[in-house]
Symmetry: C2
């Protein structure tokens, strides 16, 4: 027997309809590529997303056709989020930090029909357009006056002219909530890039779970700054959760340096900001150098890479900002865990609370996880046993677009590629990426642990630990370090800093100072590239 | 094209599975009918709900068969919530405050097969069992030793013996998330009672939306006391949101007097409590008499009836407890609006914030609403125009069980029977129940406004305003008042109290002092009954 409740599919269009109706005046503020600050609200975003939908209809785009973006975080990108998916097409957010050849490969694989891009990326589009064989329409996210006279891109039009000709009314179609809504390719450390193909249902459930008090805790009282790019797993779903809650949205555009982010936080009274550690590191450096403080920022969520404990304590102790440690993946929409406390922790003192907060966190409702040993047997949740981390849930992929990489699931669970522990309270802690774990004399050394100690040294700006082949121990850790500008840190100084902080055999064998550590398209350290660069390196003989 | 995300139906069993796995040690504390305090946790609730599922299998109950309860808020009731619905049966919470004849009618209409009841309700069951023609099994929620030797109820068994014989493992079945999960009959002011038939999907979406920061704001850090009965619209969905967040749960059992509730709040460090105004009035009286304070309570949600402003300010000003005004209906699962502030209100002073808080609140994501005039035309959201309030959303009914009362929807919208205004920010304010509005000389007078002024008088314990026939004005308001024990309030005293607080023509024509105002099964004032009692009353001649 079925229940007798109203049938209403979980569609992305319901988000923008809700926010324009119930939070129409709530602001959407963007620092633009043009350099200025632009002010909009949900009512205007809704009206313009309907213009996008009409414009796509006029272009003859069919249900599920892909519309690609190469864009920063801003209001026009947000309008595309709702206009493209809301009208039944699939939003494909391309990562502009990828190599042009990769962009070509991905756009062709996705069979993108339209490409909307910020003017910052005009040179990329000029370099790739002739090889993107499926793209029929190129749209520059600017007004007609800013369009170059001769871009060399056939039929290039401005976004404002494109949508400006269209009516601001549109009847959002209703369809199966399992329909594809958006897609995002993973950086792909091995093989070709592979895409997660999200559905309206998975996006809406993720947006609900992501806004819960135990997740990102988003409400209509917040002013939210997504520094995490909208081209990276839909900015962790923040645009959707934002429209669902009607919070104020603040977009940084291309300016993600410490000074620009700080100014935006202060001028727009941002209460909540989300980003990857490398961005926060730049912000903290700017704050420390200038002796600055926050007047409105209450909490940040840090994810995308393991967050150095030193950063969590800096935000907390120096600036009174709560840091939520979060963990997830492109294949998980991306939220899997967020580190928030439980009722049982309420009486702990600050130090003990901090110990809990340093873990990656608890699973959100909807995400289940387990750790397994090499034989696939589930390991206990005791905070000690570590093994391969697997997840499942309604916003976790079951396979990649076009079946690339075959079926990734193991008995219905998605293997994350992370190695982790889970404690009795369900708090998960990443020990390492399985491919980054250093196997030394039959024991495992966590590259993250080695990095975290280095990062706690005041003279270190960035640190990466990788394993180097060793004739006796199989592998031994070395730490690759970028010094702070004014630091006179030496190899011996850093190695002695490890003493007493970790087991002797886990102290790296060497320190390699470099000017920069290669970062990937999403700001993560590229250890594979680092290993390549250091392929001629030999460990010191003891 | 469909997305490629994992298929996982939204089932109630996933809630208890999640909480036992991720919040197994989180406490579930109950004051029992037996009088003592019982301590359990989600791990135990899960194990015992699986015993319930096994016991229902042994009884031969089929998918969608109804299992009824006549029970207070407690751990056994919670186990039935998950065991009955989780295994695919429909939980039917009977309201023990109804007349036995109504209970018989409802149980037969629902075709209940099993009835589980608290020993407090043994006399009711003894009075009705022979007339409940579909019930095959009677289960008393106690252990075998408390079962009376001769209850007169055929085959009566104790819950503990019933489930004790069953294994604590059970493989929750997977099925269509639109399947019926539970049902609740409305008090039914006209005609026979009618049932809302909830689905797993509607229940889960409601639980997600209900836990959001803009709704009840529930997290794993909370200790939650649902005073609102589990037999009344599933205690506003709190048991489901609780299992979803892993918060501590505290159940009051039958003891809902001010003293018992206060003691429970203090001893279990309750941070959040939910109930109807009449219960909070008893609690406030107890606090004021004893000069007491709260040490842990941070917020309450008050719904079920319009909450007198005096109560909101008392909680806020005297005890530092935030009061969330909420509004909903049995037909809405029940949450429709909760009154939380927006970003734009953050700079208001306390008085201005309070003005916003006195409204019934903003629609949650998922619920849309509109007000219409007598011709069905939508009225503006200006905070002034008032009309019939209609709602829609995935946790609003489309029809009643067995099609009773024909199709209630008007163009897909459910008419709530309330008259309301909605302001430009989406805040809804109930003006009155359509049937309670007093039509005086072509103008409408809100009975709620008249009551709220009376309730603000220190000598008034309870007030109900009803319309009386008038030869010239059609209807005129009178206010029926229960005085506080020590009050010497007079008719003239109260009438003069109205002066300057409302328009002269909205001041009631008379005050009628009574010992008690009749309350319905869910604690609401029964104005229909009051009109009946006062049928011989005549308005004073001016």
């Amino acid at each position: 027997m079925l229940g007798l409740m109203q049938d209403q599919p979980l569609l992305i269009s319901t988000l923008i309809e809700f926010s324009q109706r119930h939070h129409g005046e709530s602001e959407v503020v963007s620092r633009r590529v043009e350099g200025d600050i632009h002010r909009s609200n949900y009512k205007q975003i809704s009206a313009r997303s309907k213009q996008v939908a009409n414009a796509l209809d006029v272009m003859g785009l069919q249900f599920s056709d892909r519309v690609a973006t190469l864009a920063w975080n801003g209001y026009r990108h947000l309008e595309l989020y709702f206009g493209v998916s809301g009208s039944g097409r699939v939003l494909h957010t391309l990562n502009p930090r990828l190599h042009p050849d990769q962009i070509v490969w991905i756009a062709n694989h996705a069979e993108d029909q339209v490409l909307c891009f910020d003017m910052s990326f005009l040179p990329i589009v000029q370099a790739v357009h002739s090889r993107c064989t499926t793209i029929k329409h190129f749209v520059a996210l600017c007004d007609a006056s800013r369009l170059p006279a001769d871009s060399g891109i056939p039929g290039l039009q401005s976004y404002e002219a494109w949508i400006g000709a269209q009516p601001q009314t549109y009847s959002w179609p209703s369809f199966d909530e399992n329909s594809a809504s958006s897609m995002c390719y993973t950086s792909g450390t091995t093989g070709n890039p592979k895409a997660a193909l999200y559905s309206h249902r998975s996006t809406l459930l993720h947006a609900l779970a992501g806004a819960l008090p135990d997740s990102l805790n988003m409400s209509a009282r917040d002013s939210v700054l997504p520094v995490v790019p909208m081209f990276h797993v839909n900015a962790w779903g923040l645009p959707y959760s934002a429209a669902m809650t009607g919070c104020k949205l603040v977009f940084p555009g291309p300016a993600m340096d410490g000074k620009s982010i700080y100014e935006l936080i202060e001028s727009e009274s941002v209460s909540f900001a989300a980003g990857v550690p490398t961005v926060w590191q730049m912000l903290l450096s700017h704050m420390q150098t200038g002796g600055l403080h926050f007047s409105s920022l209450k909490r940040t969520v840090i994810g995308g890479s393991a967050c150095p404990p030193a950063m969590i304590t800096a935000f907390n102790d120096l600036y009174g900002v709560e840091v939520l440690h979060a963990w997830g993946m492109t294949e998980m929409s991306p939220l899997g865990t967020v580190c928030t406390l439980k009722n049982k922790h309420m009486d702990l003192d600050a130090d003990e609370m901090m110990k809990v907060r340093l873990k990656q966190g608890r699973g959100l409702y909807g995400v289940d996880m387990k750790i397994i040993d090499d034989n696939g047997a589930e390991l206990p949740w005791d905070g000690k046993a570590y093994g391969d981390l697997l997840v499942k849930g309604p916003w976790v992929i079951k396979e990649y677009f076009k079946g690339e990489g075959a079926s990734p699931l193991v008995d219905g669970w998605f293997p994350t590629g992370d190695v982790a522990t889970i404690d009795a309270d369900g708090y998960m802690q990443i020990t390492d990426r399985s491919k980054d774990v250093i196997k030394s004399g039959g024991e495992w050394i966590s590259s993250i642990d080695v990095e975290n100690i280095a990062m706690a040294h005041p003279g270190v700006a960035m640190a990466a630990c990788i394993g180097m082949k060793h004739p006796k121990w199989d592998e031994r850790p070395v730490v690759v370090v970028v010094k702070r500008p004014d630091s006179e840190l030496t190899r011996e100084g850093l190695l002695s800093f490890y003493e007493g902080k970790t087991a002797k055999w886990q102290i790296p064998d060497d320190v390699i100072f470099v000017d920069a550590i290669p970062l990937g398209g999403t700001g993560k350290m590229q250890k594979a590239k680092l290993r390549e660069i250091l392929s001629d390196y030999r460990l010191p003989v003891a």
